[in-house]
Symmetry: C2
Subunit: 362 residues, 2 copies
């Protein structure tokens, strides 16, 4: 257990934005929310998965919807407690802690906001080890923890409880409600025991995000040892450097969809990378050849400052470094690939690990 | 209190289909469901609003969605009990009875199905005195009874509970869920006390529907005294006789929308009527002049047999009689007109009672 202060959430949000693989919301918004809550409330306790109460339940609280809208339509603040309470009421159990559903600029911060509001500890775990766009895309789902009982609410005070026959049905119904609520909503779901969370979650993700955030904060232009540090923490492969020459984005069905085209710089000069995304980056090709695909991470950062970019930050002329990160081993299973592999997102090719694709290119 | 048998539900469904003003679902489907439930279960008790238990709550159970889809996608049968139980659980009160949310071929029958399944009595009341397309369009809403706590379910077993800040928000969120569930769903909502139901409901609607159904069953071509009987029960004005020459229909957003064009026959020869509908008939014009608009009823029947037509039954060549019925006085209030008048549905003119419009035409 350790206490979390403003500098900590600042670094965690930055690192989570990197690990969010282009999604998970704007870290600037996430930082503002968490720092303001900690200033007004209490410093928050961060506990490890080996410190969990076997009698209690643990649940994520998260924003759902299009990240581009989240930047303009903040939660009001009382949504987090409302959905958590609703989920706890359904279970008739005490809440032992909260955790982020995913690494991401906003969704890594919500448990800290709620922790500062309520004193409930935050657990150093998430259910993706990155960010993904849909509710059933979690390692908890793979381990048989279900989305329901799920609560969904908005800043106006509308509230829904969902009990669905599959996690995908929860995604479909909650996505429609999210769109109606104004393209973002607040949800709690996947409540589970400490034992199950320890087995099925991605432990230590917040500490890893904080380490990445510290590297970014300390980064000075041209210091290769910092890229080396990033590699040591995340196993990142430096896939591309380039300048953004085209971006397309649409917001529909409660998601941001789009494509980014990058012309190569430095040792990548003369090559072109394209990245497709649905909230998060899905696949990247260099000159038409697959370089990395879901569930591996495609992470974007400013070429000089290493500041991470979410997909909706990307603008014409931005100079970016693109990193490929191997996903957690839990995703590299048949069930994992079926849930979040390239075919799920409509691509007609199989998943290949990013490090193998890199070897093939030589 | 009286017992309801197969012939009763047959007549009620026919009459409710007439009073459904073009909506409320296919009476053939409704009759099948109710007759089969009564055959397998028990005859159902129909009670009056002066026989209600002051300690109990009363709630409608209904199908929501596009009537055209309801004809092909039947409820499985266990949905009705599921939503009613969910609503009762939220209230911690005993259920004294169920009632139709509206007059309509399907929605007048669901309480009888549920009554046969459970023994819960059906109350001779509804919340519209006709059918309307949206959830907030009830006399209960006008009287301050709220849609939430609301339950919504589908034949697969997905279940949602809604607690919304307004009835219109319940309509918006439940409509999205209905579309996702396959364009129809089963709902329970507007649970209320016997006292409030007596004050705010449309009492006697099922008996009125049964009387209309009996007239239709006994109708023989050319018997004017039966039109006279219909008039005595419903205050119907015989607005038009004609042959359908054009029908447009789209199913979108969980509704059927369309327009019907009818060329005049008999004394209406040389004139043309157009009827716009959204599940239910909304406005009818003769040669461009308004003849009747919501909340007054526009009811369609076969010119020879008086068999009622729902809007989605209407086909090229059908020979129809069109009746205008004054709506219940509860709708002819400023709040009623605001909720279901022509301006709510996007028309840029004020409501005028159908009998006044008829007088103006002379």
């Amino acid at each position: 257990m350790r206490k979390i202060y403003e500098q900590d959430v600042e670094d965690i949000a930055t690192g989570a934005s990197f690990m969010g693989a282009g999604g998970g919301g704007d870290p600037y918004v996430g930082k503002l929310m968490a720092k303001s809550a900690i200033k007004r409330g209490n410093p928050v306790s961060l506990i490890n998965v080996d410190e969990l109460d076997p009698e209690a339940i643990y649940a994520p609280v998260a924003c759902m919807g299009a990240p581009s809208v989240m930047t303009e339509k903040f939660p009001k603040g009382d949504e987090f407690q409302r959905v958590l309470q609703a989920v706890a009421d359904q279970q008739h159990k005490k809440i032992g802690g909260i955790f982020p559903i995913e690494a991401g600029g906003v969704n890594s911060m919500i448990p800290f906001v709620l922790g500062a509001q309520t004193g409930i500890p935050v657990v150093d775990v998430d259910s993706m080890g990155r960010a993904f766009p849909e509710l059933q895309m979690t390692t908890l789902h793979l381990a048989g923890v279900t989305v329901p009982p799920m609560a969904i609410t908005d800043e106006k005070g509308n509230m829904g409880l969902l009990d669905t026959v599959t996690d995908k049905w929860a995604e479909l119904l909650a996505r429609d409600m999210t769109v109606e609520m104004g393209a973002t909503a607040v949800v709690s779901l996947y409540s589970t025991t400490g034992e199950k969370l320890q087995e099925a979650g991605i432990a230590g993700i917040l500490t890893k995000c904080q380490q990445v955030g510290q590297i970014v904060r300390q980064h000075s232009k041209g210091h290769d040892w910092q890229l080396q540090q990033l590699h040591e923490i995340t196993n990142s492969l430096h896939l591309f450097d380039g300048k953004v020459v085209d971006v397309s984005q649409t917001t529909s069905g409660g998601f941001n969809h789009g494509q980014i085209t990058i012309d190569g710089l430095n040792s990548f000069s003369g090559k072109t990378m394209t990245i497709d995304y649905q909230n998060e980056n899905l696949v990247a090709h260099v000159d038409g050849q697959l370089a990395v695909s879901v569930p591996d991470l495609i992470c974007l950062a400013d070429i000089d400052s290493l500041t991470p970019f979410t997909a909706e930050d990307v603008r014409y002329g931005k100079r970016m470094a693109v990193f490929g990160l191997p996903c957690d081993e839990k995703w590299r299973t048949p069930a994992g690939i079926e849930t979040v592999g390239p075919r799920y997102f409509g691509y007609d090719y199989d998943y290949q690990p990013v490090e193998e694709l890199a070897k093939e290119r030589g």
